[in-house]
């Protein structure tokens, strides 16, 4: 005879019974809306992905016997006579942080039901994201012309290329997907699609966008500045 679920729960030791009671019985464990909980679920899993990439980069760099190319020189830009280290990367960082700021403001205007301003700031965020991807495409083109490949480069350790193209490529893919995501949300805001169901979806899109910025914080620090 199969036991009923209730009987099985009652037969559990107390510590397990309490835990099961908290997480089952149609309870909402996290007391946030479903979409937000799922976006956090995705973000935590994506943090593992980037955590694995950055760890693999650390291992590759520590294991490299040839000297690691100096990012300050690799990513320097010539402006007139002088060479400014990491200039493009600094501008990209400023652009992405700005887009995070405009995103936060878009979420605020969404909850205030100011549709025009929410859509405006979402569009602005998408535009800054597009600028970022554009600059990254420029950077990739420049490096590829200089002979950088995932398996070799003219300046030293061949592991540099595989780490660089993998990490920035995957991040750029996230930014590109985010731009499409934001444009979709912006058009829905403008259409008034959230007037009845509320503006949580703008905040959820914001979570994704801030996460992309968050990842860049670590790439900027550990790949470009170390």
């Amino acid at each position: 005879m199969a036991q009923s679920l209730e009987e099985r729960v009652r037969a559990m030791p107390r510590w397990l019974r309490d835990l099961v009671a908290d997480w089952s019985s149609d309870q909402q464990t996290f007391k946030v809306n479903w979409g937000k909980a799922m976006m956090w679920f995705f973000i935590v899993s994506d943090m593992f992905v980037f955590g694995a990439f950055l760890s693999a980069y650390a291992a590759a760099r520590l294991g490299a016997t040839l000297p690691w190319p100096d990012p300050a020189k690799v990513f320097a830009l010539h402006i007139g006579e002088s060479e400014i280290p990491l200039l493009l990367i600094a501008i990209m960082t400023v652009v992405l942080i700005s887009s995070s700021g405009t995103m936060a403001i878009a979420v605020k205007y969404g909850y205030e039901r100011n549709r025009a301003k929410a859509a405006l700031f979402l569009a602005l965020t998408a535009l800054l994201g597009l600028t970022f991807v554009g600059m990254q495409a420029f950077e990739w083109t420049k490096l590829i012309r200089e002979g950088f490949r995932p398996w070799t480069n003219p300046l030293g350790a061949p592991q540099f290329g595989s780490s660089f193209f993998m990490i920035t490529g995957f991040h750029g893919l996230h930014v590109t997907a985010g731009v499409i995501y934001l444009i979709t949300i912006a058009s829905q805001v403008l259409r008034g699609a959230y007037e009845k169901i509320g503006y949580q979806r703008v905040e959820i899109a914001g979570l994704y966008w801030h996460f992309v910025d968050l990842v860049w914080v670590f790439i900027f620090a550990f790949f470009y500045l170390f």
Partner: protein
């Protein structure tokens, strides 16, 4: 705020965090630009600035500071496990370096 699941905060909060993010980014850039030495000090400063930036983004832009603890723990505790992975593969990376140095002599 708790009832609707909406996050309402004055715009000033976002602008202050925004400004701090710019400041911290600029400071970490200048650590590299002015070639702060010893290298360990530069690495320490860059890591510290990055963690501060990450904390600001997660706490205020992603509103984690205002969420319930059950969600905060569910987000932060698994993420911290990444550090264990990083520590293990860094040890492995150093080992690979030694093996290469011994067998390939460079």
């Amino acid at each position: 705020m708790e009832h609707s699941g909406e996050q309402h905060h004055p715009i000033r909060v976002y602008l202050v965090v925004w400004g701090l993010l710019f400041l911290l980014s600029a400071m970490s850039y200048f650590v590299d630009y002015f070639e702060v030495r010893p290298k360990e000090l530069a690495w320490f400063l860059i890591t510290a600035f990055a963690l501060l930036k990450a904390g600001l983004i997660v706490s205020y832009f992603m509103h984690v500071r205002f969420e319930r603890l059950s969600l905060v723990y569910a987000i932060l505790l698994p993420t911290l496990l990444i550090l264990a992975l990083t520590a293990f593969v860094m040890a492995e990376g150093s080992y690979v370096f030694d093996v290469r140095a011994i067998f390939f002599g460079r």
